[in-house]
């Protein structure tokens, strides 16, 4: 049998099952209306859940972006210091980060799509629930319980089907979001453990450490150079070759620390 017909039959049999539960027709209308409102709440919660997941992915994308920028900066520093090996290491890590970011971007687009679909589903259901409420009130006001029986089927047309559809849409969105949440959780854990290129964020990062060592090294070199220069001029002074513009005696510190009486 055709797919369209078969799915149509599945939906209709679901609707009939819902109807068979009817005892007092007018109570059934109210009962169904309650279930519709509950489903509406569920869809809205679904929209909120998906939005939360989307925001979490956005946060992770921002974090990865910051780490990527930091690694880029480290690569530039390392290269400026003539350490191409370090620069290469930083860029390699950055490229792994970019792959991760692309994955997150795909997830983000999927979540956005789910969010839009559920939002539309919620709007459709709300419009139908409102129509049903009007119809329900009309039936209750116009017909006796016995008469209403024949109108029940009409009242339910379209609503049961919409509820089945929306129910499935929420379920699918939850399934998809759950698998993405699991991946987001895994990324959070990797970030926390420092395994995911997050090493750059910690002060003990090897690239950071080597860069720090490089800059410390150059500081030591420049201090040594300065000291050598001072030593050189002191030797020249000792040999009576004081530089023009001042005698060594002038530069001897005149101040001696005063002996202050210490107060007990």
């Amino acid at each position: 049998m055709s797919i369209m017909k078969r799915l149509g039959l599945i939906f209709r049999s679901k609707a009939n099952t819902a109807l068979d539960r009817a005892e007092d027709p007018r109570q059934t209308l109210d009962y169904s209306y309650q279930r519709q409102l509950e489903l509406l709440q569920k869809v809205r919660r679904g929209v909120a859940d998906v939005a939360t997941s989307r925001k979490r992915v956005e946060l992770q994308m921002n974090q990865l972006q910051q780490q990527g920028d930091k690694l880029q900066g480290q690569a530039q520093k390392a290269l400026a210091a003539g350490r191409e090996d370090l620069a290469r290491e930083a860029l390699t890590r950055r490229s792994a980060l970019l792959t991760q970011t692309q994955d997150l971007e795909t997830q983000h687009a999927q979540l956005q799509g789910e969010e839009e679909k559920l939002t539309l589903a919620s709007q459709r259901l709300q419009a139908k629930v409102e129509s049903f409420r009007t119809r329900k009130e009309t039936i209750k006001a116009t017909y006796t319980a016995a008469e209403a029986q024949t109108k029940i089927g009409e009242a339910f047309s379209g609503v049961s089907e919409e509820m089945s559809d929306v129910g499935l849409a929420v379920q699918r969105a939850e399934d998809k979001t759950a698998s993405m949440q699991a991946r987001a959780g895994a990324i959070d854990e990797l970030m926390a453990s420092g395994a995911l290129d997050d090493a750059s964020a910690s002060p003990n990062s090897d690239i950071d450490r080597e860069l720090a060592a490089l800059s410390a090294g150059s500081d030591v070199d420049s201090e040594l150079a300065a000291m050598k220069q001072q030593l050189g001029s002191a030797e020249r002074q000792a040999l009576g070759e004081a530089p023009a513009g001042g005698s060594a005696a002038d530069q001897v510190p005149a101040e001696q620390p005063d002996e202050h009486t210490k107060e007990g």
Binding site: I3, L7, G8, K128, E130, S164, A169
Partner: protein, 92 residues
């Protein structure tokens, strides 16, 4: 007639469209049976597009049962196969 695309909404489609839709529907079905994802993707997309382009969207507040129902546009072959099975994936 009224055709629902799941997770999307209902469309009112002229009855004389049914023949063309049935051809595409049969292609989708044989692709599902053959477990041929490529053929499925192409036929399924054409089927949905034809309903959308030849149909008129039913207003949100209209309460009417559908004559035919199609799986959601992002469903893959295996999901469709599961929906058609006895597993009763459509919640009541």
């Amino acid at each position: 007639m009224i055709i629902r695309i799941m997770a999307e909404g209902q469309y009112e489609v002229a009855d004389d469209e049914l023949e063309a839709l049935n051809v595409l529907d049969a292609e989708v079905e044989s692709a599902v049976l053959a477990d041929d994802a490529d053929a499925f993707g192409s036929a399924f997309t054409q089927l949905l597009d034809r309903v959308r382009s030849h149909g008129t969207a039913v207003a949100d507040d209209t309460l009417v049962d559908s004559d035919l129902v199609l799986p959601p546009g992002d469903a893959d072959l295996h999901e469709v196969a599961a929906m058609l099975g006895d597993s009763g994936l459509i919640p009541g």
